[in-house]
Point group: none
Chain length 192, copies 4
């Protein structure tokens, strides 16, 4: 009976560590999640974690890299497009989808900014956000339009989590969030 479970666990320990770690990081925060806790949940020893990852931070880095590759790709694609309104709207649309695919990670990033800032992924993430901003808004745009863009990005990032206690279908909510963000970017593009 346990045989199947044991079998299945062969070879995918690394993946299971990532899964549990992400869940706990997102739930409790990075600092409050200890390697002991992760190990206990998986029924392995702490030392086993160190076979798969060099440090605690490395677990997070691996999650970040694995889960945000689509976003990295999206942004790189965006930089090579003409910065038309259509492109911007397309970017926002695809960004919204990408976020939905890695929701727990982004919830984590959102809720642990102080911690993330000190970590390796903090730098990477920040720089990525700046590249995204530079696609969505011209550096010479009016201040208020910059704010609109930043607001759109924030809405995308945080919208979902904050709406958790609002009733309604998650996909409907995502669409609503997307629409508001698109509006903001559109207004920003057209200037006051």
């Amino acid at each position: 009976m346990d045989g199947t479970n044991q079998q299945r666990r062969r070879g995918d320990t690394r993946q299971r560590i990532q899964d549990v770690a992400l869940e706990l990081f997102a739930d409790q925060g990075y600092e409050k999640t200890s390697l002991r806790e992760i190990a206990e949940r998986l029924d392995v020893t702490k030392a086993a974690l160190y076979y798969h990852f060099k440090t605690k931070e490395e677990i997070l880095v691996s999650l970040f890299e694995d889960l945000t590759r689509p976003i990295e790709d999206l942004i790189e694609w965006g930089r090579q497009q003409p910065h038309t309104l259509a492109t911007k709207q397309e970017i926002v649309r695809r960004y919204s989808e990408a976020l939905a695919g890695a929701a727990p990670l982004f919830r984590f990033m959102q809720e642990n900014q102080a911690t993330v800032r000190e970590l390796r992924i903090g730098e990477v993430f920040k720089e990525r956000m700046l590249r995204l901003r530079d696609i969505l808004i011209d550096p010479d745009a009016e201040l208020i339009d910059k704010v609109r863009c930043v607001s759109a990005m924030f809405t995308l990032h945080a919208g979902m989590f904050v709406l958790q206690d609002v009733e309604g279908d998650p996909e409907d909510k995502r669409k609503a969030v997307l629409e508001v963000a698109t509006d903001l970017v559109t207004q920003a593009h057209q200037g006051a």
Copy 2:
């Protein structure tokens, strides 16, 4: 010269603890800030902190209570007004000002959500935000208008910090953020 310092330190240690704690909490996060660090900065012993505050969390609670009283008052005021568009705009305007007066604390709340959620102030803050939301938007409004309101609140909370690397006068930035938030609330009020 030390004489004056010593003199001045008489009786205001509690305040000085709060000041240093807020700075460190906002800078490094709650968990990464140890009481040892706070004490060292003040050149007192850890035990001295415990003379003034019962626990580490109490320091944070005291900061929260001292600094967010105007906001609590504002929200209570708002609940007693008719929920007209004008009221909503007034609330947003005054909220923006109140936030500016406690910027470091709000930066802290924003960047340490995972931590704050487990703390006593997390509950209080969340409940306050819900009250604010209920002033800004009708519970029966369209989903998208709810999102607009939430987006407005987020814009106010996070706008300033995210714009830190954008050049420009802080007060100008605040005005821009306020304008975007006001727009969102206004759109939300008028429905699609």
Copy 3:
């Protein structure tokens, strides 16, 4: 209304400290009772305790001295009597009464022996017990009779506390304990 209380508290703080301390020491043990706790119960500051007593241990010493004076006197009296059976029985009877008059302290001594042993009163108490033993039993008596005497003393000391969960009038219990102890001493006196 508080005036009377305040009035009454004038000048008897020392006594009140002793009362509260004894209660807490007996209830929770010496180490687990902090001066903070005592002070809080009395609604004074810790420093006030130090006005009346030089150290924590001194509070205990004062309790011991105040409450065990009758016992000290009793033992001194006993030493000057002829060591007849009648004397021994009389000693036991009066010891039982003396104990009842300082029950909380003796409960404390009984339940905190490890602690008391390291304290100043430990030595005094032990030496007193040896003097009592030497009254109750001849140094050349059979081993078993010595045990009987020690057992009698223990019965007196611990009997009451252990019988707390037995129903019945406290004074009846004391009488029963006294009778058993007297029996033991009598048997010891008469030898096998």
Copy 4:
């Protein structure tokens, strides 16, 4: 020479912790024995203790469980016997032996009652003593006979430690204590 020591230390650290802890607990009391002290004696770090035991209390619990199993068994056996005088005497005899096998622990329990009462083992121990009492004496017996039984138990528990400064062979002393306890139980059984 250190080689052998090192060798020997492999794998029996848990046991060594228990040994040292029991010695120190019995000697100085529970509260006055710090984990630092235990660790230093063993030449390991405090953290090593926490690898083997979850808390300080757990060390004590493990000692209690390991050392009092025979007593638990004895009492369970006793409950299933008819409560005749012979059974009672047999119980007392075997209890005396069991105590001798765990003398330091019982000395500890005896001398740290206030502390033990607040600990997990306090409950267990108290309940065990009540079961023993219920074997030795009928709940409807005269008060004085109840006292005799309690006195017998106390004599067994405390007798040995108190006789430490009396000269004589330890086994002789144990026998004498046993005899006094047996007498008391016998008298109690036969009623006044």
